[in-house]
Amino acid sequence: MSTATTGGGLRWDWAVIRTLWLRDFLRLRRERSRWLGIVLQPVLFWVILGSGFADSFRLAGDAETDYLAFFYPGILVMIMLFSTIFAMMALIEDRQSGFLQGILAGPASRPAMVLGRLAGLVSMVLLQTGLFMLLAPLAGYPFGAVDWALLLLAIVLGALLLGALNFAAAWLLDSTQGYHAVMGVVLIPLWVLSGAMFPPGDGLIGRLMVANPMHWMVEAVRAGLEGSSTPAAWAVVAGLALGAVVAVALAGWVSRPPAGGGGGSA
């Protein structure tokens, strides 16, 4: 038996992408308590941590930039990270509760299912970052100075890259406990070492930070907010795009049906 497909299945792929995207919004509409997290969590992090570090933080050679402004791009990346974590916990729950089996048995392809989940995730990230951007002028980023195209691409591609990599991890782990471990040991430390909270220094930690993909997300978002549409900023966005393509392909590959062996008499 083969699961090879013929052409003409794109309408089902498109249908499942729309279905999974719509489902995320239907759920959001019903779960009103989630709005508290969406609206308040980034604000609380920004205000509490930002105010706490404000008095003791000075950028080397830059006495003007206050910590709330420095921390603001990091909060936008934190929104991407937390939205991704929430979406992947939901993915694991969907597999365990049985919802996903109805999708997987349908006529759409597995990559379409992956794209549907990621479309929902990216939309949630855009919604949440969009709301948080209302505070950008207070952080010292006036709307008129922002390079919106650069910022939008940095957020969308960063969310896709993070989401697809986490999709692959969540699919392989298939356990909320296992994913919690990944979150605590890998994802949160990556964010802390992203340059969101402090800039890279010259030591080992600094070099690790520069090698951290999340650092480049923070830098791309920072460039967008500052309106620094430089070739270097666009090179980072191109790198994010390439990484996102590879990560989405990886997620599609990981989620393919497991192989079984043959033979009737072993």
Binding site: W12, V16, Q101, P258, G260
Partner: protein, 318 residues
């Protein structure tokens, strides 16, 4: 009758363990074929191979005469599946769940709305259509899940232990709704079950044991093989009881099934008092007379009960 689904020599193994071995079956339009066996016999694996849960296995599957290789998506679009766990989102309402199912099959909006209304009415959930599914009882969820599976008007319906967790009333109600739909829409239905009362509703049964089909017959034919009546004895020493009973005339077959001794006979009401008279007081703790079920047929043919308990030995007399 032309087969809608035709499976030949399907095998599957997980690691080194064969879970399905050389299974062949076919299902025609309007026909209900049952896969009867205990947990681990390969029923759900077979359905999992059809739903794409696993990658290709040796064997051939044809849908409406065409090899699955070329029609996988068309098959999936014509497939309704009721899984062991309902494939519903508990946070969403019944109507929203059906709306998602309609979207997934790319149904036009007007047609989708009509089918959703019909599905809700069929499931007797119209009045609770806008309540979250997580507030529903198990029976209501199952009815909604059946409505979800039937929404795209499938040609093939796969039911994987569809009545798991349902009480007797919900079980009867579900099949009472499902059977007319199957007949009027001429669905080709494959049911995986370990319930004899569910298997009795099938037109044809395949008895699965250790991943192999050990018998294919109608429920009626299987019941006839078991015999007309079944005298069941319980005692502290079932092996000794079985040995003594096996020597008597009137017993067509005597078997140990779990902790009980079953005597297959033509005339139970006559045999039962005669059997009891042969034993001293206290040797038989409990005796019963009943009609044989498909569970008895399965136990007789495989030496294992549908609960998965092995019987201690072969038939002692036949």
């Amino acid at each position: 009758m032309a087969s809608v689904l035709d499976i030949r020599g399907l095998s599957h193994r997980i690691g080194d363990r064969p879970v399905l071995q050389d299974v062949s079956l076919d299902v025609a339009a309007g026909e209900i074929v049952g896969l009867l066996g205990p947990n681990g016999s390969g029923k759900s694996t077979l359905l999992g191979l059809l739903t794409g849960r696993w990658r290709p296995a040796p064997g051939t599957v044809r849908f409406e005469g065409e090899a699955m290789e070329g029609v996988r998506r068309r098959f999936a679009a014509q497939l309704g599946v009721v899984f062991q766990q309902p494939a519903l989102d508990g946070k969403l309402t019944a109507r929203q769940n059906l709306r998602l199912a309609a979207m997934m099959h790319a149904l036009p909006a007007a047609e989708a709305a009509a089918r959703i209304a019909e599905g809700l009415a069929d499931a007797e959930l119209t009045e609770r259509a806008d309540e979250p599914v997580e507030t529903f009882s198990g029976g209501m969820r199952r009815r909604l899940d059946v409505a979800r599976a039937l929404l795209p008007r499938p040609r093939v319906l796969l039911l994987d232990e569809p009545t798991t967790g349902l009480d007797e009333a919900s079980f009867r109600a579900l099949w009472g709704r499902l059977l007319p739909r199957i007949r009027e829409r001429r669905l080709a239905v494959l049911v995986a079950t370990h319930r004899p009362d569910e298997a009795a509703r099938c037109d044809r049964l395949l008895l699965l044991h250790g991943g192999r089909v050990v018998r294919e017959a109608t429920p009626e034919a299987l019941l006839q093989e078991v015999g007309r009546d079944l005298v069941v004895l319980h005692g502290d020493e079932p092996d000794a009881i079985a040995r003594r009973v096996a020597e008597w005339d009137g017993a067509l077959a005597v078997e140990r099934v779990g902790g009980e001794v079953q005597i297959v006979c033509e005339d139970g009401p006559t045999l039962l008092p005669a059997v009891l008279a042969q034993f001293a007081a206290g040797e038989i703790a409990m005796a019963a007379l009943r009609r044989p079920s498909l569970a008895d047929a399965f136990a007789r043919l495989t030496g294992e009960t549908l609960d998965g308990d092995a019987t201690p030995g072969e038939a002692l007399a036949s």
